[in-house]
C-alpha cells in the first residue's frame, strides 16, 4: 500500500508539500487531543487537493464548497477513530471518495448530470478556475472548450462508481489497488469499472479522436 500512498501524496499541491511522517503524526495526535490549531494545520496540508477533487465531481462552486465542508467535518468528527493503520492521506481520501460517491448517487437519483453552462457553452464551474489554460493558446481555445463540454457530458453518463474510479485513476494518478480500497471494493471490481468507463467515453467521444 505504501507505494500507492506515496503516489497519492505526490498529487498534493506543490506549495503545500506533505509534512514529514513524524511531523504529521504529531499533528494528528495533537488534533485528536482536541488541539484546533493542529487540526487546522492538518487541513491546510490537504485542502487544496481535496477541493480540486470535489470540484471535479461537483456541478458548481457552491456544490464543491458544500462537499469540502462535508469532507473536513467528517474528518474532524472521526479523527479520534484514526489508528495509524494506514497513511493519513489514504484515510482522508477514503472520506473524500465516499462523500463524492454519495453526491454522485444523489445526483443520479435526481437526474442525469448536466453541468450548468454559460452562454459560450462552457461548463459554469470552469469559469471559477484560476488556471484556465484553454485561454493560454487562442488557437486551441475553441476546440478545448468543445472537448470540455463533451467530456463533462460523457462523464455524467458514467455510474457513480465508474466515475470515481476513472477520476482517481486518470486525474489523480492512483493505482487501482488503492482505488479499490478507497471505494470499499476489490481491485478486480475497480478494473472492471475502469474498463466500462473508458468504453463509454470511447463511444461518447469517438468523433473527437
Amino acid at each position: 500500500m505504501d507505494g500507492a500512498c506515496l503516489e497519492l501524496a505526490g498529487k498534493l499541491p506543490a506549495d503545500g508539500s506533505p509534512v514529514a511522517g513524524a511531523e504529521e503524526t504529531a499533528l494528528i495526535r495533537q488534533a485528536q487531543a482536541g488541539d484546533r490549531p493542529a487540526f487546522d494545520a492538518l487541513v491546510r496540508q490537504y485542502d487544496q487537493a481535496v477541493l480540486r477533487m470535489v470540484l471535479r465531481v461537483a456541478g458548481s462552486p457552491d456544490e464543491a464548497s458544500d462537499l469540502f465542508q462535508e469532507v473536513f467535518l467528517k474528518v474532524y468528527r472521526s479523527l479520534g477513530h484514526f489508528r495509524f493503520e494506514s497513511r493519513f492521506s489514504t484515510w482522508l481520501y477514503r472520506v473524500v471518495t465516499n462523500v463524492c460517491l454519495d453526491q454522485l448517487r444523489r445526483k443520479k437519483t435526481r437526474r442525469e448530470v448536466q453541468p450548468p453552462s454559460t452562454d459560450d457553452g462552457q461548463p459554469e464551474y470552469f469559469h471559477t478556475l484560476a488556471d484556465d489554460r484553454a485561454a493560454l493558446d487562442p488557437h486551441r481555445s475553441l476546440r478545448s472548450k468543445e472537448i470540455a463540454v463533451r467530456l463533462a457530458g460523457a462523464l455524467g453518463k458514467l455510474t457513480p462508481r465508474e466515475r470515481m474510479v476513472f477520476e482517481l485513476r486518470h486525474y489523480e494518478g492512483l493505482k487501482l489497488r488503492l482505488i479499490g480500497q478507497m471505494c470499499g471494493t476489490s481491485e478486480e471490481t475497480a478494473k472492471n469499472c475502469l474498463f466500462r468507463a473508458t468504453q463509454k467515453l470511447r463511444t461518447e467521444l469517438r468523433d473527437l479522436v
Binding site: L51, Q69, R77, T128, A130, A135, R202
Partner: protein, 318 residues
C-alpha cells in the same frame, strides 16, 4: 488471447495496470491483429485527448471561501453538543461515579444561579447602552463585562492601602459607522494589513473597495495587492483597485503583480487590467515594461496579452 480479451485489457494496458505476463500477451496479440491495433490507437488517441485537457486548479477565492466556511463550521462544532459528548462520554464511561458527582454539581450550580439571579441582576453593572471603547481605562474594579485573560501583578500600595491589580482583559466590541468615520476606516485598514484571518481580510477589502478613491484606502488596497500572502485576497485587491482612478502607483503595482506574483491567476488578471487600461488611456510610461513582458515572460498568455496591448498603442512588441 482473443480479440475480446484484448479489447477488455486495452484501458488497463494504457494505464499500466497489467501484470508482466498479461502485458506480453496483449503485445503479442497486437503484433498480429490489425483490428485490435486500430482499437488500441483509438484508445490511445482518446487518452491523449483527455490528457491534453487543462488540469484546472481551484480559483484562490473559492479556496479562501471554503476555508472561511470551514473555520466557522468548526467553531460551531467545538461549541456544540457533539464536542460535549465527545469530551465527556469517554470520561463518564471510565469513571461513572465521578461523572454522576460532576453532573449533580452542575445541576446544583444551575439551580443556585437561578435562585440568586434576581438579586445579582440588580448589582451587576449594566453594559448595554454604554458606548463601547476599545481602549478605555478601567478603574474601580468595573471591568464592564470584559473577560479576564490573565492577572500579571497584584501589588498593595502601603501608603494609600489601595490594591493595584494589573491584568489582561478582553471585551467583545462592536463598532458602527460609515467609511467616512476615520476610526472605522483606520480599523478596517488595520484589519486588511495585519489581521491573520484571510476571510476577514477579504470581507474588509470588499467593503473598503466601495470607497477606493480615498488615498488611505487605495494605499491599503495596493498594500494588499503587493504583500498579502493569500492569492484570493490579492486577486480581489486587484479587481477592487482596478475600479479606482489610475495613477503611477496603481500602474506600478499592477505591473509588479503581472511580473512577479506567485499565482498565475493573479498575474493573468493583472495583465488583463493593464491591457484594458492602455487600450483606453494609452499610457506610454508602461511601454518598456510591457515590451519586457512581451519578450521574456515565462507565461504565454502574459506574452500574448502584452503584445496585444503594445499593438493597440502602436508600439513595437520588442
Amino acid at each position: 488471447m482473443s480479440c475480446q480479451e484484448v479489447d477488455q485489457s486495452l484501458a488497463l494496458y494504457i494505464y499500466d495496470e497489467l501484470r508482466g505476463d498479461e502485458r506480453t500477451a496483449v503485445e503479442t496479440h497486437l503484433a498480429s491483429c490489425e483490428s485490435c491495433r486500430k482499437a488500441m490507437e483509438q484508445s490511445r488517441d482518446l487518452m491523449d485527448l483527455l490528457r491534453g485537457q487543462p488540469v484546472a486548479e481551484p480559483a484562490p477565492d473559492l479556496l479562501v471561501h471554503c476555508r472561511q466556511r470551514l473555520e466557522e463550521s468548526l467553531d460551531r462544532e467545538q461549541m456544540g453538543w457533539r464536542a460535549l459528548v465527545r469530551t465527556w462520554l469517554p470520561l463518564a464511561a471510565a469513571h461513572p461515579a465521578r461523572a454522576a458527582t460532576a453532573l449533580t454539581l452542575v445541576a446544583f450550580g444551575f439551580s443556585l444561579g437561578w435562585i440568586v439571579r434576581p438579586r445579582m441582576a440588580s448589582v451587576l453593572p449594566r453594559s448595554e447602552g454604554t458606548p463601547p471603547a476599545a481602549t478605555s481605562q478601567m478603574t474601580g474594579g468595573d471591568l464592564g463585562g470584559a473577560r479576564i485573560n490573565s492577572i500579571s501583578q497584584v501589588a498593595p500600595d502601603p501608603e494609600t492601602g489601595k490594591m493595584q491589580i494589573t491584568l489582561n482583559a478582553e471585551k467583545r466590541v462592536t463598532m458602527e459607522g460609515s467609511l467616512d468615520n476615520p476610526h472605522i476606516r483606520d480599523l478596517m485598514v488595520y484589519a486588511l494589513k495585519s489581521y491573520d484571518n484571510p476571510g476577514i481580510r477579504l470581507d474588509t477589502l470588499s467593503a473598503l473597495g466601495k470607497d477606493s478613491s480615498d488615498p488611505t484606502v487605495r494605499d491599503a488596497l495596493l498594500y494588499a495587492l503587493e504583500h498579502d500572502k493569500n492569492a484570493g485576497v490579492r486577486l480581489e485587491a486587484l479587481r477592487t483597485v482596478g475600479k479606482a482612478n489610475w495613477n503611477n502607483n496603481v500602474a506600478h503595482a499592477f505591473l509588479g503583480a503581472a511580473e512577479r506574483d506567485d499565482n498565475l491567476g493573479v498575474r493573468e488578471a493583472a495583465i488583463d487590467s493593464l491591457v484594458s487600461h492602455v487600450s483606453t488611456e494609452g499610457d506610454e510610461d508602461l511601454v518598456p515594461a510591457l515590451q519586457h513582458l512581451a519578450a521574456q515572460d515565462s507565461d504565454r498568455y502574459v506574452r500574448i496579452k502584452s503584445i496585444e496591448a503594445l499593438r493597440q498603442m502602436g508600439q513595437p512588441p520588442f
